[in-house]
């Protein structure tokens, strides 16, 4: 009896333990799964939303990529093995989209004429050309017009000579609908569910938007458009250009001049005059050829390329030498106030870099800056406005910005060099200089070399400093390009692509590709020379 009881009790206890263990396990495992489901669910919802948007816009390639990408991510996280992929996926996805894709897209743009005047497709360009040269048709009747607001856009509803209703807007050409129009302008139609016909006072309110509407008469742009000046009647406007589809020419109906598509993404006449806007086409190596042959580009390009290399080499050298010298100076345990000095010395590193460049620009100002006013007693030295001085100023300011990093790195490297090596050399009677030259420096270089290479690559693209300090200036007079003596390649890219009225994305990307090649080449050579990648495992 008691034995049985005992066994029963034991069983009960065991059951309890098992239940509680299962419960614990569930508790421990449920959180990751919930997090996983929530995160993946959010991602899938986002993809689904994007897929619908892409479906509506008929962008099949992107849609395909989106679906495959989402599928792969789900597959990575739902299968039980393949642990590494789970840890790497978030970084790699972002890297693929915003870095690797962006790089290959740059490469693609470098072979197009993308930019101001070459933004869209040929159809868009043809429509834009015709829209920009509209004149009122002389014999045009006045069509009775009602203006309707459909969603956020305005539509024209007109009656043709057979009293049939037609509707259209800026992008959609006129097309027939069923319904009738009353004398007061109101419309009865079953096909205009989400449109609201405007009354006179509503038309007055949005006058400017309504007057600027031009509704194509048909899908053929040669048929012209309807416009209104009063919101009550519409008149036909026709372009002074006529597009001949069969010969692919644009004909000026006034002068009878013919503009042909000559393959450069614009209609050009025999005299070489191109109509604006043009459209986007692939131009092959044209952008690169321009860099090396067009005189206006070639000289600034070579000058900038040379200065970029000079600048990055000098930047690394000056910051490294000062940083190393300081590290040696402060690398003495007996020295007092070392921590205080170090705190002050790394201030430039902590100070946000864009602010530093602007602060220096103020201090170096020719008329009012501190350097000229106080240090040079009012002499107006053009620090930022004379080519050579500006280059020196850029190097000095970069020294200020960059030496703390080198100082910290060299300090760390020096302290990691074993003491007994130096002691042994001292016992052997080596001088301080010899110890430095043959022991400390080579050992230091081994660990610092990779950092020097990446510092070179970083300075090669030190956009902030150049753009904030001198904006690339001073610009040489007589040059049509906005490119100055301190411009480096990357600031030139930015200027060509985003500054001024003429944006040339194609040329700017061609420059980017050249930077890629130079940086890649220099890094490859120096990594090879320092063998710093070989021990990687």
């Amino acid at each position: 009896m008691s034995k049985q009881e005992n066994i029963q009790n034991k069983r009960k206890r065991m059951k309890k333990r098992i239940v509680s263990q299962v419960g614990n396990n569930v508790g421990a495992n449920i959180l990751p799964i919930v997090v996983k489901i929530v995160l993946l669910g959010m991602l899938d919802a986002m993809s689904l939303y994007g897929a619908f948007a892409l479906l509506m816009q008929h962008k099949w390639v992107v849609l395909g990529l989106l679906l495959v990408g989402t599928g792969v991510i789900n597959w990575i996280y739902w299968r039980s093995h393949g642990l590494a992929a789970k840890y790497l996926a978030p970084g790699i996805v972002l890297l693929l989209i915003f870095q690797l894709f962006a790089i290959s897209y740059s490469a693609y743009i470098a072979f197009t004429n993308y930019g101001t005047g070459h933004n869209g497709t040929k159809e868009v360009a043809i429509t834009a050309l015709m829209q920009s040269s509209l004149v009122k048709k002389e014999d045009s009747p006045k069509y009775p017009l009602s203006v309707a607001k459909c969603g956020a856009d305005y539509s024209f509803i007109v009656q043709d000579s057979e009293e049939q209703l037609l509707v259209g807007d800026n992008t959609q050409p006129l097309h027939h609908i069923d319904g009738t129009r009353n004398a007061d302008g109101t419309i009865h139609s079953s096909q205009l569910q989400n449109c609201k016909v405007l009354n006179f006072s509503q038309i007055l309110q949005d006058q400017s938007a309504i007057v600027s509407l031009s509704v194509p008469v048909s899908t053929n742009p040669n048929d012209g458009v309807l416009r209104t000046s009063d919101g009550q009647t519409a008149s036909a406007y026709i372009s002074t250009f006529r597009y001949d589809k069969s010969s692919d020419t644009m004909i000026d109906t006034k002068t009878h001049e013919q503009y042909r598509d000559n393959g450069t993404g614009a209609f050009v006449n025999d005299a070489g005059v191109a109509l604006q806007p043009g459209w986007r086409v692939n131009v092959g190596f044209q952008n690169f050829i321009r860099l090396f042959t067009v005189k206006e580009l070639q000289q600034p390009f070579l000058r900038v390329l040379l200065w970029t290399i000079e600048f990055s080499v000098l930047s690394v050298l000056t910051t490294f030498i000062l940083g190393l010298f300081l590290a040696i100076t402060l690398n003495d345990d007996r020295m007092k106030f070392r921590r205080l000095y170090r705190s002050i010395l790394i201030l430039p590193y902590a100070f946000p870099a864009f602010l530093s460049a602007l602060v220096w620009a103020g201090m170096l100002n020719e008329k009012f800056g501190f350097i000229n006013q106080v240090v040079f007693h009012g002499t107006e030295i053009p620090w930022l406005h004379a080519p050579t001085l500006a280059k020196i100023a850029v190097i000095v300011v970069n020294l200020w910005l960059g030496f703390p990093y080198m100082f910290l790195v060299c300090m760390g490297a020096l302290q990691s060099i074993p003491h007994d090596l130096v002691e042994a050399a001292t016992l052997d009677g080596a001088s301080r200089w010899k110890i430095f030259r043959y022991i400390t420096f080579p050992l230091l270089l081994v660990s610092v070399a990779p950092l020097l290479i990446s510092s070179f690559a970083m300075n090669f693209n030190n956009f902030n400093l150049i753009y904030m300090l001198t904006a690339g200036g001073p610009v040489q007079t007589g040059s049509s390009m906005n490119i100055g003596s301190t411009d480096i390649l990357i600031s030139m890219v930015y200027k060509i692509a985003f500054v001024g009225a003429n944006r040339d994305y194609g040329l700017a990307s061609a420059f980017s590709i050249i930077i890629f090649l130079v940086v890649g080449l220099v890094s490859a050579i120096s990594f090879k020379a320092t063998k710093s990648l070989e021990e990687l495992n």
């Binding site: 948007a53 816009q57 590494a84 992929a85 840890y87 790497l88 890297l95 989209i97 915003f98 870095q99 962006a102 790089i103 897209y105 740059s106 743009i109 000062l322 300081l326 100076t329 007996r334 020295m335 106030f337 705190s343 002050i344 790394i346 902590a350 100070f351 946000p352 864009f354 602010l355 530093s356 602007l358 602060v359 620009a361 100002n365 009012f368 800056g369 501190f370 006013q373 200020w400 910290l408 300090m411 760390g412 490297a413 660990s447 610092v448 990446s454 956009f463 902030n464 753009y467 904030m468 990357i490 890219v493 692509a497 994305y505 980017s512 890629f516 890649g520 990648l533 990687l536 495992n537």
Partner: protein
């Protein structure tokens, strides 16, 4: 008398010799100190002046009530908070928005890129899989090419992306963060990888024997151990995000969405010398948090910077 004279002169002379010996010894002592310690202080002080002066200057300019470039040249000639008041009351230049945008974008970018980097570094350091070496090498190669290089493509990409996801288009702060995160893997992983390697594998092996899964090992054991490097990389990533101009200026268009770098550059380059005082106060406010955190964490930063390179 002559004797006396001679005597006194001789005593005088011996006295002279003694004092000159003394000064010589003193001089020697100073010379020795100079050779061993003094020159270090001289160099350090000189470079400290070079390093610290521009910061002192901008601080003094921010307190100057006349607020022009030329009036800022006499340091601390007046102390007032006029510039700071003016800074927050500019109609065209919403400094407060810039500040909040910068801090939020910077913090999110820093936190997320540290996390992404740590995940990747864990995989490279602890797991063995095909393509591991190639992966590490490509990361080192990729970090040679900063994002600013493909700035044109990024701009056009976001224009297109905005047609699908309106909140990821041009003029979106989320889009900017996403772009920054695209660079996170390349920049941070290798540095972290070096640090992850210094943590003995036996620690996570022990945890796994005790029944901890990979996720638990990563979050509760490895991450706390590497927290110093996480702090350093987070801070460095925050600083570089705060300073980033080129990408931010092409993505963010409307003033109330811009960051400090974009807004303040537009503001100060507009009318350089008149806006100087207000600009200085903006610069001081922008720099203070970063500099303070930096100085607090400097011990970790020093070790963090060197761990990637020095073994």
């Amino acid at each position: 008398m002559s004797n006396k004279l001679r005597n006194s002169s001789s005593t005088h002379a011996s006295h002279d010799v003694m004092t000159s010996n003394l000064t010589k010894r003193k001089f020697n002592k100073i010379f020795v100190w100079l050779r061993s310690q003094g020159w270090r202080h001289i160099v350090a002080i000189a470079v400290c002046v070079f390093a610290g002066f521009p910061i002192l200057y901008i601080f003094s300019a921010s307190l100057n009530n006349r607020g022009t470039l030329v009036s800022s040249n006499t340091l601390f000639s007046s102390i007032s908070s006029d510039n700071y008041y003016e800074l927050f009351h500019m109609a065209q230049h919403p400094y407060a928005y810039w500040y909040v945008n910068t801090v939020v974008i910077g913090l999110i970018t820093a936190a997320a890129s540290v996390f992404i980097g740590a995940l990747a570094a864990y995989a490279f350091s602890r797991l063995r899989f095909t393509g591991r070496r190639i992966g590490l090498l490509s990361i080192i190669v990729v970090q040679m090419f900063p994002q600013v290089l493909s700035i044109v493509a990024i701009y056009l990409l976001l224009t297109k992306l905005g047609e699908i996801y309106p909140f990821l288009g041009i003029n979106s702060r989320i889009a900017l963060i996403m772009v920054y995160l695209g660079g996170a893997m390349g920049v941070n992983t290798y540095l972290m990888y070096g640090f992850f390697n210094t943590i003995p594998k036996e620690i996570d092996e022990a945890a796994q024997i005790d029944g901890a899964g990979h996720a638990r090992t990563f979050f509760t054991i490895i991450l706390p151990l590497v927290s110093p490097i996480l702090a350093v990389i987070g801070l460095l990533s925050f600083i570089s995000t705060v300073s980033e101009y080129a990408v931010a200026s092409t993505v963010l268009v409307s003033p109330e969405k811009q960051t400090l770098a974009v807004g303040m550059y537009a503001f100060v380059s507009d009318r350089f010398s008149q806006n100087w005082g207000v600009f200085s106060s903006g610069a001081v406010l922008a720099a203070i948090p970063v500099v303070v955190v930096f100085l607090f964490l400097q011990k970790y930063i020093v070790s963090g910077l060197t761990v990637g390179a020095v073994k």
